[in-house]
Symmetry: C2
Amino acid sequence: MGKKMAFSSKAKSEFEIREGERRLDADPATAPPDAGVVFIGRVSSPWTERSQCPKNMREAGEKGGGGRISLGPAYAPGLQGLDKYSHAVLLSWLDRSPRDLIVQKPRHAETAKGTFALRSPVRPNPIGMHIVRILGIDMARGVIELEAIDLLDGTPVVDIKPYFASTDSIPDAARPPRDGA
Amino acid sequence: MGKKMAFSSKAKSEFEIREGERRLDADPATAPPDAGVVFIGRVSSPWTERSQCPKNMREAGEKGGGGRISLGPAYAPGLQGLDKYSHAVLLSWLDRSPRDLIVQKPRHAETAKGTFALRSPVRPNPIGMHIVRILGIDMARGVIELEAIDLLDGTPVVDIKPYFASTDSIPDAARPPRDGA
C-alpha cells in the first residue's frame, strides 16, 4: 500500500496512481473521438475546490447550498414543460478528470475496482449522472434552480431529462456492503 | 395539426417536423464539438427496426427478449466488481437520431414540449440513460447480460455506472398527468 506516483500534467495533479490501479493504453482524452458533444450550459455551485465538493447527491443534500443550471440562449426553449416535474436527470461533463483509469482504488477503499463499478469522475467518457430536485425554472433566462448539486462550479452540462419514477426509481436495487464493513 | 415536412437525409427520414416544433439554428451534429466521446462498446438487442423497439424501459420489460452490452477488450477490466450490483445506469449514444430539435411534439402528444422535458432520442447530445437489471457478467469477454433493453441493436455505449438506490431512486418524484388525460 501507499506506493503513489503523481501524474505529470497540472489537470491530473490531484489524481494519483494507487496500488492495483490499471491505466488504458490509449487515453480517451487524446484518442480520435467517435462522436462529439456540445456543451449546452454550465452548472453554478458553491464548490470551487475539489476538497470541499460533495462526492455524491446524498452528501450534497446534507451540505445544501443550492445550485443552478444556466443554459445557453439557443437551448433555453428546451426547458418548456420541465417545470411540471419535481426531479430531473442532469448529465454533466466532468472536464477536470483524467479519462485513462480502467481499474481504480478509491481513497478509502480496501481494494481496487473497475471504473464501471464506481461513480468516480475518472472514466473513459467523463459524463456525470445526477438526480436533482428542481426548485424553479426561469424559462426566459434558461435557468434551473436546484436544491443541491455535487459538482464543481462551472462544470459543463451536456443533457437534462425529466425523471420518471416508473423507469428510473428502483428502491430495492441491491449493492454490496461498504468496503471494509 | 398534421402539417408535416420530411427531413432530407436518409438518417432523418424517420423523423418529421411537426406543428409547434422548433429547430436549432446550429445543428449540434455538424457544429464544432466542445469535447469528444469514445464508444466503449455496443448493445445487442432483439430490435432492428425503430417501429418494434420499446420506447422506454417499462415497455422493454413487458416485451422482454433480453439484451447484452459487449465492451471493447480494453474496457472489459472496468467491469470488475459490478457483479455485486443488481442494477446499472447505462449511457448510450443514440447514433440514429437527429440532434437539432429543441421543441418537439411527440407523435401522440397534444402539444409541443421542450426537448429537456422529454425522453425523446432527438436531443443536442443524443445520450440515452437506461436503468438496466444485470442478469450476469462475463468478465473475460467483457459482456453484461441484461433482462431487457429499449435500444436498437448495435447502439454504441459510452458509460456504465453502478445504480445506487440512495441517490438515484426517488419513488415519489412528481410528473404531470399524461397528455390528454
